[in-house]
């Protein structure tokens, strides 16, 4: 009985807590950078819309409402709307972030939305991160290089240390949203810079015993001024990563490992294939 009462009291607490605060909803002024490259008449300009704020409104809800009720021509990208797919990165008041999990209550009454810089613009807030990421993946060969493509699928899997598996997953959580690239000062000056996303991926594969490359191979990919040595440690990538990946640490670590490899030539590449570096296409 006492337990029941306790439970009920707890439930009351929860109710209090969940009760949404009543407040007067603001009329938001949203300035969006509009431009349709496919339309010769179109020139880049800021267009401001008024939208009435609702409870727990995210930019996903806001932009869809805008498109449904005010301007069906507005271009933007949302897929999962839950912060896991990385489609909707854009500049919110100048800062790269995932729009879907950006609550309007955390923004001032008047704010601006602009497409992520550094990527090919498709239109308005939509940019072609996918094309860039595929190019990056091909350049750094972002897959496990297996000794043997034929896996005996009937046999029990090779054991792995549970902590190592979790460490790999922590770096594997990257959603390729492009925030690290868009916020990178170095990338502005050196468009062939691989970006934190690539350095993190190599760091992930370096941990993974299933990837049979070694530091000599990774050096071929990252050991240049467009690779890890190009990073000037401004580290906006770390500050703006929506998945809170430990980019600062990974870059520093990979730079040290690559420097060691470069100076001492550890792990002779003769044992394993050397991965040829493919240049990024510059448009």
């Amino acid at each position: 009985m006492a337990e029941n009462v306790q439970q009920m009291a707890a439930a009351e607490d929860k109710k209090e807590q969940a009760a949404p605060q009543t407040k007067n909803h603001r009329m938001l002024q949203v300035s969006i950078l509009r431009y349709n490259p496919a339309d010769p008449e179109s020139v880049p300009h800021l267009q401001t819309y008024s939208v009435s704020e609702t409870d727990s409104m995210t930019l996903y809800i806001l932009l869809n409402e805008l498109r449904d009720t005010q301007d069906p021509s507005l271009q933007f990208d949302f897929v999962c709307r839950a912060g896991i797919c990385g489609s909707c990165a854009m500049l919110v008041n100048g800062k790269p972030t995932l729009a879907c999990r950006c609550l309007t209550r955390d923004l001032p009454e008047h704010f601006t939305l602009a497409p992520l810089p550094g990527f090919e613009l498709i239109g308005d807030l939509s940019v072609n991160t996918g094309k860039w990421m595929r190019g990056m993946s091909e350049r750094i060969q972002s897959w496990c290089h297996l000794n043997d493509e034929e896996v005996n699928l009937s046999k029990i899997e090779t054991p792995m240390d549970p902590h190592l598996a979790e460490d790999i997953y922590l770096l594997d959580r990257c959603v390729e949203c492009g925030c690290c690239v868009a916020s990178c000062g170095n990338f502005r000056m050196r468009p062939d810079f691989v970006g934190a996303v690539a350095i993190n991926k190599i760091s992930r594969f370096r941990l993974d015993p299933r990837d049979h490359r070694n530091d000599a191979d990774y050096y071929e990919i990252l050991g240049t001024e467009s690779g890890v040595f190009g990073c000037m440690s401004l580290l906006a990538c770390h500050d703006f990563c929506p998945k809170d990946l430990p980019l600062k640490t990974q870059i520093a670590f990979m730079r040290r490992k690559m420097a060691e490899q470069g100076i001492m030539g550890k792990e002779e590449p003769t044992l394993k294939r050397v991965i040829p570096l493919r240049e990024l296409k510059l448009d």
């Binding site: 929860k14 709307r81 912060g83 999990r101 699928l153 792995m160 598996a165």
Partner: protein, 661 residues
């Protein structure tokens, strides 16, 4: 006009599509994958909790094998599944996990020794075996007899998609991103590819292929409240329907997930309950043991969702400004567990609800989650009626889920079907008799036809508003074709959807160069309405309850009349309703004849065939067991299926307790 030729055209770059393309490419067939979005953004990404495969590594999984997984899946489906396909699936699932392990998926691994877990609300200490050290771990999930769900924290789909997508890059398979297949090219008996719209330039392109595979995922966006991603609009179902030849199976079978966060509908994984989370009502009372004493929170999703809605209907919901909800309590799992094994749940609660799930209860209510229905295929993944058209994953009705899918079986299906059907497609392409010979003119005609349909929107002077039409459709689907259905509501739904469908031809769209999102919205909504009509009409005709399809006016499963699969197609372009036919399920061939699921309602109407088959099955089993036959021999005597699998996938699966001889 641009035409692109390839051996295999895969529509959709989620796990099923990517894995099929890898299979075909490895056998030497050039493949092109089409995708609305970059592959790693596909909805496969959202599978959080894990993938079922009977590895039996953890101590709570000991004794698990293909037979147990088979039984769970068939019972989960409420006997709607194709049992041969389920057999193909359960034998391949462990192979799929192991393949992905080799490709780099960081599956959560087992630490031997004691560990504390929560079972039925109690802290329990279990001891993992030394032999299992470092092997892939499993967690508990709904509707399963053993702990079988392999996982990567709660980002399983994410990690799998990374690995498979990276394999596609390793094999140099092109993915044409930001394009959409809007029609299949066919001649009434053979599929030749698709008409594809470039979502950046707006251009229409013909893709001609010997084999075309649909792997476009589900249709959650037909509903107002859904856990599905924005791109799950059922347009893959629609292009198959529109051929008038290919069929969609069981469209009325729609799953609602018990724990969508309220009100946004974003999913929190079944792993929350699998790991020991509880459902509570407004009084903080854990109500599931009262109504489902056998499996409690871990009955199958259709059952738990209905029990939750019943609880709310009894006035025990928590009232809020947006409506009523219940609570999911995972606080008892502890901070360490939540921050390591339920990391995405933690983030979602933090960002979208502003709560800390290590301390606060999570507001949840069932939300549309999965489309069991899809393009009806043979076990090879090929359409039964349109040669050269294949389908896999959620977009398909391969039919391993019947009327309710088990948690952890969908992400498993994507890769398993990808492996099996990828091989079947390669076999298909290997055969000289499947060569194609299609005049370019036919392709041009299809492109022109599609272009004129799109132009019709621009030329239209109608006054209907597509955003209003779509919003209304979503409202109808959620309120009238939802968890609880009845005849009146369903006839209203069909009537109103048909009316909306007609209205969708009186919508004017501004002609704009480039992507033109307004046009995309318009033509997709029209396609969505066709699928919605298939769901509503199928549900209205099916006068019984089975799995996730629950009729208040016919609350009992009726095997006597409804042991059959619904098939829909859109016969003529001018039709305003799909044409529906049925296909019988053959009880006399079932390895597991219909019976009670082990949870949920116990009453059902038997088919006269059932006791006859049950007797046969019992006799064969008893006789062979007495003769000392092993489980493989008995299974083979009851329902042989190995001949349906590609040869490389027929092998047995090694386990700690079942070493390969």
């Amino acid at each position: 006009m641009k035409v692109i030729y390839t051996d295999v055209l895969v529509i959709g770059a989620g796990l099923a599509g990517l894995r099929m393309a890898v299979g075909a490419k490895r056998r030497g067939h050039d493949s092109i994958i089409l995708s609305l979005v970059p592959p790693k953004r596909s909805h496969s990404k959202a599978a959080q909790g894990g993938m079922q495969a009977s590895l039996a590594n953890v101590i709570k999984g000991v004794g698990d094998n293909e037979d147990v997984h088979f039984g769970d899946t068939v019972r989960g489906s409420d006997w709607g599944a194709d049992q041969e396909v389920v057999r193909m699936f359960v034998n391949t699932a462990p192979k799929a996990v192991r393949e992905l392990a080799a490709w780099g998926v960081p599956w959560s691994r087992i630490t031997p020794g004691d560990r504390q877990v929560i079972i039925n609300g109690e802290k329990v200490t279990i001891t993992e075996r030394k032999e299992a050290a470092g092997l892939i771990g499993q967690r508990d999930f709904g509707g399963t007899k053993k702990w079988r769900t392999c996982f990567v924290s709660d980002g399983t789909g994410h990690a799998m998609l990374n690995a498979v997508s990276d394999r596609v890059i390793a094999y140099g398979i092109p993915v044409h991103e930001r394009v959409e297949a809007i029609a299949l090219i066919h001649d009434g008996s053979r599929c030749y590819g698709a008409v594809v719209r470039d979502l950046i330039t707006g251009e229409l392109i013909g893709y001609v292929a010997r084999a075309t595979a649909i792997a476009t995922g589900g249709a959650g966006k037909l509903f107002r409240v859904s856990t599905n991603a924005q791109i799950c609009e059922g347009t893959g179902h629609a292009i198959a329907l529109e051929t008038g030849v290919a069929m969609c199976g069981n469209l009325e079978a729609v799953q609602f997930h018990p724990t969508g966060i309220f009100p946004a509908g974003i999913l929190v994984t079944e792993g929350c309950r699998g790991d020991g989370g509880l459902l509570r009502d407004v009084d903080g009372h854990r109500f599931m043991p009262d109504v489902e004493p056998e499996k409690k929170e871990l009955a199958s999703r259709d059952v738990v969702s209905r029990r939750m809605e019943e609880r709310i209907a009894q006035g025990k919901g928590v009232k809020s400004r947006f409506g009523e909800h219940l609570w999911l309590d995972i606080t008892l799992l502890g901070e360490n567990h939540i921050k390591h094994n339920l990391r995405e749940v933690y983030e979602i609660c933090h960002y979208f609800l502003g709560i800390d799930p290590t301390k606060d209860w999570i507001p949840v209510r069932p939300a549309q989650h999965y489309t069991m229905g899809g393009v009806r295929t043979k076990p090879t993944g090929e359409s039964e009626t349109l040669k050269g058209l294949f389908a896999a994953g959620e977009a398909a009705c391969w039919d391993m889920h019947g009327f309710n899918r088990l948690g952890g079986n969908s992400v498993a299906e994507t890769v398993v079907a990808g492996m099996i059907i990828g091989e079947c497609i390669a076999d298909f392409c290997d055969k000289p008799e499947n060569a194609i010979d299609i005049p370019t003119r036919v392709v041009y005609d299809f492109i022109k036809r599609e272009q004129s349909k799109l132009d019709a929107f621009a030329k239209n002077s109608g006054t209907e508003n597509m955003a209003e039409i779509r919003t209304r459709m979503q409202e109808i689907m959620t309120t009238k074709v939802g968890i609880f259905r009845n005849g009146d509501m369903l006839s209203q739904a069909v009537e109103e959807l048909e009316d909306l469908y007609k209205k969708s031809f009186n919508v004017a769209v501004k002609n704009q160069p480039g992507a033109n999102p307004e046009l995309v919205y318009a033509y997709r909504t029209q396609k969505m309405l066709r699928v919605a009509l298939g769901m509503a009409l199928g549900a209205s005709l099916r006068t019984e309850s089975r799995g996730a399809h629950f009729r208040i006016d016919y609350p009992v499963r009726n095997d006597a009349e409804w042991c059959k699969r619904t098939l829909s197609t859109w016969k003529n372009e001018n039709d305003t309703l799909p044409t529906i036919t049925y296909q019988d399920l053959d009880i006399s061939k079932m390895e597991l004849p219909p019976g009670w699921r082990g949870y949920g309602a116990k009453n059902y109407i038997d088919n006269p065939e059932t006791p006859i088959r049950q007797k046969q099955v019992d006799e064969i089993r008893a006789k062979m067991e007495a003769e000392g036959a092993d489980r493989f021999a008995i299974q083979n005597a009851l329902m042989p299926y190995l001949q349906l699998l590609p040869e490389d996938l027929r092998g047995k699966n090694e386990r700690i307790d079942e070493p390969l001889s």
